[in-house]
């Protein structure tokens, strides 16, 4: 940008994520295309402004490099951050690969600006953000053709002054919220349409609401979001080779949640496993409850697997074992992939023995040994 290669454009170095979203709000309200990115605690620090941007209907696009939320402090990947914002009013799209992340951003701007609502493109922290892989870069001219110039629905302009951000009381707040919801319902139509347009323009199948993988005759279907789908597909292929009728369903759009598309993809399955990278402490799966709503009334055995929290690797081997158990109908309704129950049991025992047993995180670390001594 400093070299003028990206022009006209302004880059603002902010002091905090809260300011980042706030600057984006101001810029968007003043009629500029605005973008920012964050992750983890940063997203939580900007939460107030995240909700505000959605409430004001400002078509901001933001990358969330999904990472865990502390404490204990942890910088690795999971979906806790973005999941915490599922009700913020932002559209949430989850990328499976870096190529899709790139493609989704282009689609996100078009979606955001058409509907005048903000869009969050979620991509797994480190797993995608720090991965080095080949990506096809679209030409600027093609992107410009796909994404028309920004025409804001509302803009701060002395030539046509308006007040943006009025205080709305009980008499109209509900209706404002209904309209916000309605926009996301519109997005259920627009997301696949825009994905189709994108495919026509760039020749790549990116985005959309959901992406089924070998679900046609699958008895067991695994539902997941983000980059883990690749490893899941490997596992599916492996099991299919062995004759196991299993498939996977990628949720590309988590908000709006495509109830109909999910139901259509899953309704013929016997077992549905939702593999989640976030834990709703006190209940279990977040995505699960959305999937269950989509499957209301269907006689499907569902289970939730919490996996990959705080960057724990999700391996093909573990997935294979998991899927086999699921396929056999042996999976409990809530389970944790590759959890070390020994560590948990030891800590539970400590807690039962003395009141001041100390913080879990440190106790478990002591049990595990220092992180630095691990090879991987």
């Amino acid at each position: 940008m400093k070299l003028g290669e990206l022009s006209p454009c302004e880059f603002v170095n902010v002091e905090s994520e809260f300011a980042a979203m706030s600057v984006a709000i101001g810029a968007s309200a003043a009629g500029a295309r605005a973008y920012t990115a964050t992750a983890s605690q940063g997203l939580l620090f900007m939460v107030e402004a995240v909700y505000n941007a959605a409430g004001l209907g400002l078509p901001i696009v933001m990358t969330v490099a999904n990472r865990a939320i502390g404490a204990p402090i942890n910088i690795w990947n999971d979906h806790s951050d973005a999941m915490s914002q599922r009700d913020s009013g932002w559209i949430q799209l989850y990328a499976e690969t870096n190529q899709e992340a790139l493609d989704l951003h282009i689609q996100a701007f078009r979606l955001a600006e058409e509907l005048s609502t903000p869009v969050m493109v979620c991509m797994d922290g480190f797993i995608l953000t720090h991965a080095y892989e080949e990506v096809e870069m679209p030409a600027q001219a093609d992107v410009d053709a796909f994404l028309p110039a920004f025409e804001p629905r509302q803009v701060l302009d002395p030539d046509e002054p308006v007040t943006i951000g009025a205080m709305v009381g009980p008499e109209a707040f509900t209706e404002v919220k209904i309209l916000q919801h309605y926009k996301q319902m519109l997005a259920l139509d627009r997301i696949p349409e825009i994905a189709a347009d994108f495919q026509r323009a760039f020749g790549r199948d990116s985005g959309g609401l959901v992406r089924p993988y070998r679900t046609e005759d699958a008895e067991t279907i695994v539902v997941a979001l983000g980059s883990v789908l690749g490893t899941i597909e490997e596992a599916v292929d492996e099991l299919r080779e062995e004759g196991v009728r299993i498939g996977a369903l990628a949720l590309t759009s988590f908000r709006p949640f495509p109830l109909d598309a999910v139901r259509a993809a899953l309704e013929h399955a016997t077992n549905v496993v939702v593999l989640e990278k976030a834990l709703a402490v006190g209940i279990g799966g977040i995505v699960t409850s959305n999937v269950r709503l989509a499957l209301s009334g269907l006689p499907i055995h569902g289970s939730t697997v919490i996996a990959g929290l705080g960057g724990r690797p999700i391996t093909q081997r573990s997935l294979r074992d998991l899927f086999l158990r699921a396929h056999a109908g042996e999976l409990e309704s809530l389970s944790f992939l590759d959890a070390d129950w020994g560590l948990v049991e030891r800590e539970l025992q400590r807690m039962s023995q003395m009141q001041r047993s100390g913080p879990h995180a440190e106790n478990i670390l002591r049990d595990v040994g220092a992180v630095a001594h691990k090879a991987v």
């Binding site: 006209p8 454009c9 302004e10 603002v12 170095n13 902010v14 002091e15 905090s16 809260f18 300011a19 980042a20 979203m21 706030s22 600057v23 984006a24 709000i25 101001g26 810029a27 968007s28 309200a29 003043a30 009629g31 500029a32 605005a34 107030e48 402004a49 505000n52 004001l56 701060l156 302009d157 002395p158 046509e160 002054p161 308006v162 007040t163 943006i164 951000g165 009025a166 205080m167 709305v168 009381g169 008499e171 109209a172």
Partner: protein, 338 residues
């Protein structure tokens, strides 16, 4: 009788203290004297009777609008000013205006400025504004960021010394000994604690931004001149406007301007301006008064004047005012004082 010193003589009708005057050339009148002033915030707003903030905002914005030939966009923090001016379905603003959050007005303003720059709209100027809560407390991080980055925003803080919108709670700008909902007038140290609170203007100066000033609603012309001076510059600028709050201070609605005047004339609120971090001018006290004159009309200080009262506390407040007077040189030089 000595011969009158012509250099010192100003006479009222063409002097500098009233809003306008039929005898003045139009360009000498204040913005507020204009029949066709912008009224950036217009009739029908729901501020309390005698609201100093409504007044301060109109004063400052009208001056800014005039300086920018009508091309101003404002970002407003949450607070009284926002709530009373924009309850759906009515807004009192006549300029493009946006409210986002309590603590982000400076950053929203930065965003607007960045957008305008990207769009090549050099004619449009950006203002951020908020109360003391939104500025010196909740929004302070964003404000400091806006300063240090050098963003082209004039930020206006309307200081009524507390969170009046939410029921008169203490803010970082609440003065010592003042009673608020969260600093009750009980115990050995009634009211707000001494040594707390912060001077946002001085902190702004520490950022060495091009322009920092304080002003009150009692000296309109001074306020307008400062806004005009600020509008002549680019980069981050900060004006801290003292706006009495009849509700929060427990004062008569008609006393709003008078209290602002007394705050300045007692030395409680120093009125000055600073360029690039250095004080470049002060508004001298015309008729110095003891702080009691300022404190007594306000019920938030009533506990200082009961029976037996707290003359010791009043003396500490006086000492603070005296320090301001010495620090900023608020008195006319000896011999010139009248």
């Amino acid at each position: 009788m000595s011969a009158p010193d012509k250099t010192r003589i100003r006479f009222y009708q063409t002097g500098s203290f009233a809003v306008g005057g039929r005898l003045l050339d139009p360009e000498q009148r204040s913005v507020q004297a204009e029949g066709e002033r912008t009224n950036a915030i217009t009739c029908g707003h729901r501020a309390c009777q005698g609201c100093g903030e409504a007044l301060g905002a109109r004063y400052a914005l009208d001056a800014a609008v005039r300086a920018a030939q009508g091309r101003v966009i404002a970002a407003n923090a949450t607070g009284c000013l926002e709530v009373f001016s924009t309850p759906y379905p009515e807004t009192s603003w006549q300029i493009p205006w946006v409210h986002s959050l309590f603590g982000n007005a400076p950053a929203v303003a930065t965003g607007i400025a960045a957008a305008l720059k990207a769009k090549g709209r050099e004619d449009v100027r950006v203002i951020g504004q908020g109360g003391d809560g939104g500025t010196v407390d909740i929004g302070f991080g964003c404000l400091s960021g806006m300063f240090e980055r050098g963003d082209d925003v004039l930020y206006l803080c309307y200081d009524n010394e507390g969170y009046m919108n939410t029921g008169v709670q203490r803010s970082g700008a609440t003065p010592p000994a003042a009673r608020t909902a969260t600093t009750q007038a009980v115990g050995a140290e009634p009211g707000n604690v001494f040594g707390q609170g912060k001077s946002a203007p001085l902190i702004a100066m520490a950022h060495e931004i091009p322009y920092v000033a304080t002003a009150t609603v009692a000296e309109l012309r001074d306020l307008e001149q400062k806004v005009e001076a600020a509008m002549e510059l680019h980069g981050p600028r900060y004006i801290h406007v003292f706006v009495p709050c009849p509700l929060g201070w427990g004062s008569a609605s008609s006393d709003t301007i008078r209290l602002a005047r007394l705050a300045k004339e007692t030395g409680i609120f120093p009125v000055f301006e600073a360029r690039d971090g250095v004080v470049s001018g002060v508004s001298k006290i015309r008729r110095r008064l003891p702080v009691e004159e300022y404190l007594r009309p306000q019920r938030r200080f009533a506990h200082l004047f009961g029976d037996p009262g707290r003359p010791d506390v009043v003396a500490r407040i006086q000492a603070g005012a005296d320090r301001n007077i010495a620090r900023f040189g608020l008195l006319e030089d000896e011999g010139e004082g009248r």
